[in-house]
């Protein structure tokens, strides 16, 4: 049994951050991204294809990631996404504001551990 999924609103706000973070170390294709999110969240976070790909396209349109069709021998071509420099600085900004947000929420709710 999966743990209770977090609220949709949370997921929506954090989706961009999740995708950008996963692309920080290496380019990945869509399935890879959705798999990683599912595995690392222990199944708590899951993106449907109908949400994931529009998100990827939107990030690409904003210039944060770049999609590229890559062809490998003996394999079908796949579309890989990598982080652009603009995307990297956006990621940094988002990470920082996420940390700040979590810290503020922690301070307000008294849940702060540090």
């Amino acid at each position: 049994m999966l743990p209770n999924p977090p609220d949709q609103e949370w997921k929506k706000g954090s989706a961009e951050l999740l995708v950008l973070s996963l692309l920080e170390d290496q380019p990945r294709h869509g399935y890879d991204i959705s798999k990683l999110i599912q595995i690392r969240s222990g199944g708590a976070l899951r993106f449907h294809v109908t949400s994931l790909y529009p998100l990827l396209h939107r990030l690409e349109k904003q210039g944060w990631i770049e999609g590229l069709w890559v062809e490998k021998a003996e394999q079908r071509r796949r579309r890989y996404y990598k982080l652009t420099p603009l995307g990297l600085s956006e990621l940094r900004a988002k990470q920082k504001s996420w940390k700040d947000f979590v810290a503020i929420v922690g301070r307000v709710t008294g849940m702060e551990h540090a």
Binding site: H29, H48, V49, Y53, P54, H57, R58
Partner: protein, 912 residues
Amino acid sequence: MPDWKSIIRERIAPLRLEPTGEANLVEEVVQHLEDCYRELRSGGAGEAEAYQSVLSELDDLYPLQAGLQRSERMPKYDAVPAGDIRSSGFVEGIWRDLRYAVRTVRKGPIFALFVVLTLGLGIGANTTVFTLINTLILNPLPVGKAGELAGLQTKDMQSTSKSGVPLPISYENLQDYRARNQVFVSLAGYTSPRVLTWQPAGPAQRVFGELVTGNYFGTLGLAPARGRFFLPEEDSTPGGHAVAVMNYGTWQTLFGGAGNIVGKTLRVNNVVLTIVGVAPPKFIGVNAIFGPDLWIPAAMAEQVLPNEMQGALSDRGKGIFEGVGRLKPGVPRERAQANMAAIAADLARANPAADEGHTVVVLPIREVLFGSNMGGLAPVLFGGAALLVVVGIVLLIACSNVANLLLARSAARRQEMAVRLAMGASRARLIRQLLTESVFLGLLSGVVGLLIGYAGLQLLMGALPGSANFVTPKLDATVFGYALVISLATGFLFGMIPAFNASRAGVSEALKEGARTTGRSRRRVTLAGALLVSQVAFSFLLLMTAALFLRSIGRAYDMDPGFQTKHLAVFMTNPGQAGYGTAQTKAFYKEVRERVARIPGVESVSWSANLPLWSRVVNGLQVEGRQQRSRADKITTVVNTIDLDYFATAGVVLDHGRDFSALDRETSAPVAIVNEKLAHDYWPSGDVLGKRIQLPGEDRMRQVVGVVRTAMYSNWGETPQLCVYVPLEQNYSDSMVLYVRSKADPDQLMGPVQREIRAAGPQILVGSPRTGREIIDGGLFQAKMGVTLLTVFGLLALGLASIGLYGILAYAVNQRQREIGLRMALGASQRSVLGLILRQGLSLVLTGVLIGFVAALLAGRLLSGMLYGVSATDPISIAGAAATLLVVSLLACYLPAHWASRVDPLEALRQG
């Protein structure tokens, strides 16, 4: 593995994504789903379970829809084609329009059939005429680089400015032109096609032969289809090389395309000719219409030509050639003209007896392709242009007919258009759709038109004597291109007005109108009426022109040609070509006369050198006592050599003096009989008898002993010509025409007379047997052909216009059913309703007739020169055309009017 691709495509179809983006997205998502599926399966899930699980990924489409930015989606303007919502690009749009057009056509097959037949007739008529023009005017000489070729003709100095009748060039002069000119790469000579007697094992046959110089084929740049052309030495020794090149068509028709034709021998005019080659297909000589069966080297002139042409190779006075040359690169025709004229002037100084007063003209090759006696290119161009105008009118009528139909239909489709406009379709889009529809119909009609055009061509060529000698117009790429262009243009033309009209439909207005169109759109009816009036006007113009020519031909048949035609039959013979000597020939003439005179039903028999209406003129008649202003001032006259009883047999009236008699012999005093025209022109005071004249080529004066009525000699309806008759005994000829006067119908005599001629001379060819009636038919052939075409096209136009009239009235009645019902409910009688609709139709017709009449009066000025004895405002023609048109259009109006009067008021009102 399930077919994810089609599943996804189906799911996202309603999103109307831009196609390239969509394809990429589909590919990405498909891979994603496939990976999921594979993983689930390898994790132990069953097929159905895995499928359901993966499919659930697609359950919620909203994020996809919301997530994709608007720019990735197609604008939603395209409401026209139902069923297929993806779209992109112009080409795909056209393709979609086309598919839609095909569906529309399939929905209304009767309408489409009508349109295609109507336009097909118009396009077919155009194709037929264009094929003729393409063959005769645009592409008349199938040789390489025809533009470099030029024709060479001798002309009288005085007549050069008036483009007088060209004279042939003598062989000697031609040789000088060839040797001395600096402007031609090569210059060749050819004669007109001459009748030759081919003597195969069976009965003799007539063939046509042309003498040509050895370099003829080389100058034209032709390659033989079989064998070879002439070698230089074959044209150097007179009579030395009895060889010939055969016409491709002759090879095919007379010899069945036999493979062993090269090396075959033919006995022609008693000379055995060896065929050395076959000319390429389609080539029939330097003539657009008629060509020979054989080309023979000029050096064979003495052997092949009739005896009066003997000496043609050495006598500068005997011209038989026309010239054709290939100009050196970069030499304009004007320079060639100057160069050749200078040579001609030298020749005239050196040989005044033959050449004084003559010069030479270098003509564009097109000018010489229609034979010098036909008047060159101008009448052909005029005829071609006139025919194009006529068939153009027929096509316009067909177009306006179809446009009218579409207008009527557009009323029915008004709602459809309004709905589309309301749903966001743009006007341009609707117009494009409607135009695609009409252009599609135009193209279909083009295909039908090509078939009709081909049939028309066959019909037309069937009217010509079929032989390898005539040009055969063919449908080629140019014709197909032409048909394509006019089909497209036609589609635009008849589609334009209805398309703009339909797309103008006011949305709310049309929708409010509901399913029933009660009120008439005034504009639409006015437009249709205008189209109809112009149709009627054009039909009237064509009909009246046809009527004028028909009457003119009727008059022409009634003309008195100066000889009798009712009881006349003629037969051409050529004993010289069968190898007969003088004595033998004379005996033959005598025997034939005796034998034929014994046939029951023959009234009299005689010989004459000239076929009726085929006389050639000679130049250089001298009249004693007349001052010749210069050597070039020569009298041109017809000369006919005749046997005893000729005037009685031919029905030429002897005015005064005496006929030739058995006493006018070779040894007696030379005599001649002249016609009234000559007598009147040179002895106006009337004392002709006893005066003396000298014929060209003769050294003795002849005494005029009689005067006969002037007749037609060369053409039907010609302006009177001078004519001199001389007795056969005093002017021997080895080819003569037998004239037979019958007591009753000459048709009965055709067989028996030919049998008697064959009995008298078994090897002698009897050519062109014909009756007097056939002689006139032949003389009026072109005119009749013209009238036939005009009548056919005129009737076609009338038929189309009546169908149009019928269509528009039937439509109007249908639309006004409610109004008519109301009228009748209020007490209008059937008669008054009938009258109402008839008035509506006939007022259009009368307006058309009036406009057509004015146009016909204007056209009449152009035509008056071509009419025999009928004025261009001939009341009978006008009345006839108008009556035909009114009767037919009355019929076309009557049916709809009749229906209207039968409208049941209750029924009509209930519908409303």
